[in-house]
Symmetry: C2
Subunit: 441 residues, 2 copies
């Protein structure tokens, strides 16, 4: 007999649909688990327990009347604190932000709710999605960071407080925390999901993202978020070709690299063709141009607030704003051009592949003292806008999860799901759960 | 018996197709006219007479073999000097530019040539498409500017040296010179025609454009340039609704405004519904944000060359580069955001209209001393990327042509052609020709 918190989104939706549990009963079970572990995890910026139960009750009334709201009918999700949720303030992880309640849901939130989802509350994040750590801890080891900026979303899913959460990624803010917390993180193609109602970090690189525990759930939520429905593979029969970059993605600790080698092996044994890919020079340009673009856009967003309240800014964000303010417009323009050309080079490299496969991060989650970890392996694909997914692929020698990152051509999320499903059919890393202990971890 | 130089593109193509004239005969007739008037007009940066005759002869050989290259088979066109034409340098109106011959045709040029067009040569333009005057004179009155930056393209078509030419527009560089020279100028939707091989001025506002003498020719060339074929109206039967902005488009001289009033009257009598349109506030934002974006991108393009050869820069361009270099990246980023939102406002205002109709310019062509005229009425639509066309609509009291500018929703060039054809069916301003005199004008 499994517990409700163990269910995937699809499993919870099925049980609620079959009236084996009410939405309210499901939500109450999650709230109980959250109460047990939140004191030590700090995953939530605002838990909306009463409201969540009320939403669930309304779903249950619909169920009684034979009405299903959609594929997420009655299933609870968590929302990162930089998305507008009606009547709640959008704090973006900082007291410096406006505390006025949002007048409407962000488009991504509205789509989830229209499909029947119940909002549990808003998850903790690094202030303004930058690099100052959130209070959140890693569910696998509380001394380590859950990553950022979607710290609470990844930790909540990793700790089985909910089956799925919205995150957002500008450099590596979905894939990195998802990998650190041993769950699935999806960053769709740039602009595939509306950013309306998402607080800007760096607008030309901001992506709506999904954190879940398996690929099917990520695909299900992606279909809801795009409004396109279930995101099944468009050509599920074709040969899978997995490209491994010939350089630039070295894991810090050689023994930890074995998990990546093992993951490639799983795919090879499952029938995928593995090829070595010469990394285009543009990948380095994507990173350097992406950083410049990101800092300039971040500074544009913060300039007015920063001019009034610089002394209250957290130190890492402050450095970024100062850096962005000092960039000259022609440098930014050139960075946009460099990024555009480099993204084209990367698209060419991806054209012959189902996915490019890399480690998701340079290492497992580092200590939570002062850092949210390194987004170096994720940034190029945030800058280029290519869709990317991370899948749990094993554990480092310190017992923390490691992930593989798959990247596909623009608009080919179906390739990510196809490779991801193959991997999860032939491995069970996605079924491992953080060994949570109640109380301080 | 009309002269070859009087023919439209469509008329020349038909005569060549019917073997009533050879392409070579047609080209020779144009070259003779160019030789007569070029000494006073200065429309050409590089006249490629021998090459043009050779291209024409090849077309004629195809004709003999029963092969038509396409809708422009054997028809001569002029190319603005900022487009790559194979084996010719792309000077962009300046000796400061690289004089290396282009290795390939720009995409726009290649499309014209694949459709059978013969390239006569490259037309004069303001240096780097900025605001320092070209040597070109206005065919209607040599003391006046032909406008810029597509000075030579507009003057050549206005002086009947050729039936059509490529121009380019970043602020008002196609519509303004076309209006000043009494011809048709088309700026399609941003990105509707590839800019590959077009020297950048300000990349996010650069548009490939067409200068011709009637709407049918502009539509014909547009169809060739997009590769979509003849650009006929998609709904030629519907009611035409013409919006007149309620403010912001006042012609300097009240008596010259009568031509605009008369043009509206022509359309009303021809059955168009005329409505007053409240100009969105965003129109002013489009202009101010557009200028900032343009200067920053222009400076990005020039920075390296300018750092080495600033003292050789023409004075107006120098001011623009200096201005652009001083812009901070966050200001540019904010200008992009303002532009994006304002373009959305304008799109909403255009949604209920077939076209928005304004005077093309604030006045007829000013004196050629030091200025290429005012692009104030064109800039917002270059910044927003909406397609626009100018049609000759009469003459100012000083005898110089005036134009009306029609603007449509993104991708609705067919609306421009529909309104333009209706106007030209019910007026004959487009048949008036500059009273050219050989020798100095």
């Amino acid at each position: 007999m499994t517990q409700p918190y163990e269910w995937s989104v699809a499993e919870a939706a099925e049980r609620i649909r079959d009236k084996r549990i009410s939405s309210r009963g499901y939500v109450q079970a999650l709230l109980a688990r959250i109460r047990d572990y939140e004191p030590s995890l700090h995953a939530w910026a605002h838990l909306a327990g009463d409201w969540a139960e009320a939403q669930a009750s309304q779903c249950d009334e619909d169920t009684v009347r034979g009405v299903s709201r959609g594929p997420l009918h009655g299933v609870a999700v968590a929302i990162k604190d930089n998305y507008d949720v009606i009547d709640l303030p959008t704090r973006g992880g900082s007291d410096l932000s406006d505390d006025k309640p949002a007048a409407a849901d962000a488009v991504a939130v509205a789509r989830l709710r229209r499909a029947g989802a119940v909002v549990l509350g808003k998850t903790a994040m690094t202030p303004f999605a930058a690099m100052d750590p959130a209070p959140t801890r890693n569910p696998w080891n509380g001394d380590h960071t859950p990553g950022g900026s979607s710290s609470g979303s990844a930790a909540a899913v990793g700790a089985q407080m909910c089956a799925a959460a919205l995150g957002s990624q500008t450099a590596g803010s979905v894939l990195r925390p998802a990998a650190y917390c041993g769950v699935v993180g999806l960053k769709p193609t740039y602009d595939a999901v509306s950013r309306q109602g998402l607080m800007a970090c760096a607008w030309s690189m901001d992506h709506v993202g999904v954190i879940a525990r398996d690929v099917d759930d990520a695909a299900l939520l992606f279909g809801v978020l795009t409004g396109a429905g279930p995101a099944d593979s468009k050509d599920s029969d074709g040969q899978i070709t997995v490209g491994i970059p010939d350089r630039g993605f070295d894991i810090s600790d050689a023994s930890d690299a074995e998990a990546f080698v093992g993951a490639v092996d799983v795919l090879a044994k499952a029938g995928a063709k593995i090829v070595s890919v010469e990394v285009p020079d543009g990948l380095q340009s994507l990173a350097s141009a992406g950083i410049l673009v990101m800092y300039a856009e971040l500074a544009a967003f913060h300039r007015d607030l920063y001019s009034r309240r610089a002394s209250e800014y957290p130190p890492r964000l402050r450095v970024l704003v100062e850096a962005g303010l000092s960039i000259a417009a022609p440098d930014y323009v050139n960075a946009l051009r460099v990024r555009h050309h480099a993204a084209g080079e990367l698209s060419s490299a991806l054209a012959g592949l189902t996915v490019l496969l890399t480690p998701t991060t340079t290492s497992p989650a580092p200590s939570r003292q002062g850092s949210t970890g390194d987004w170096r392996f994720n940034l190029p694909f945030s800058a280029s806008g290519h869709p990317a997914i991370t899948l749990s692929c094993g554990f480092a020698k310190n017992g923390l999860p490691l992930g593989i990152q798959a990247v596909a051509s623009h608009g080919r999320e179906d390739f990510l799901f196809k490779v991801g499903r193959l991997f999860q059919q032939h491995s069970d890393w996605h079924k491992r759960r953080a060994p949570m202990k109640a109380g301080p971890i």
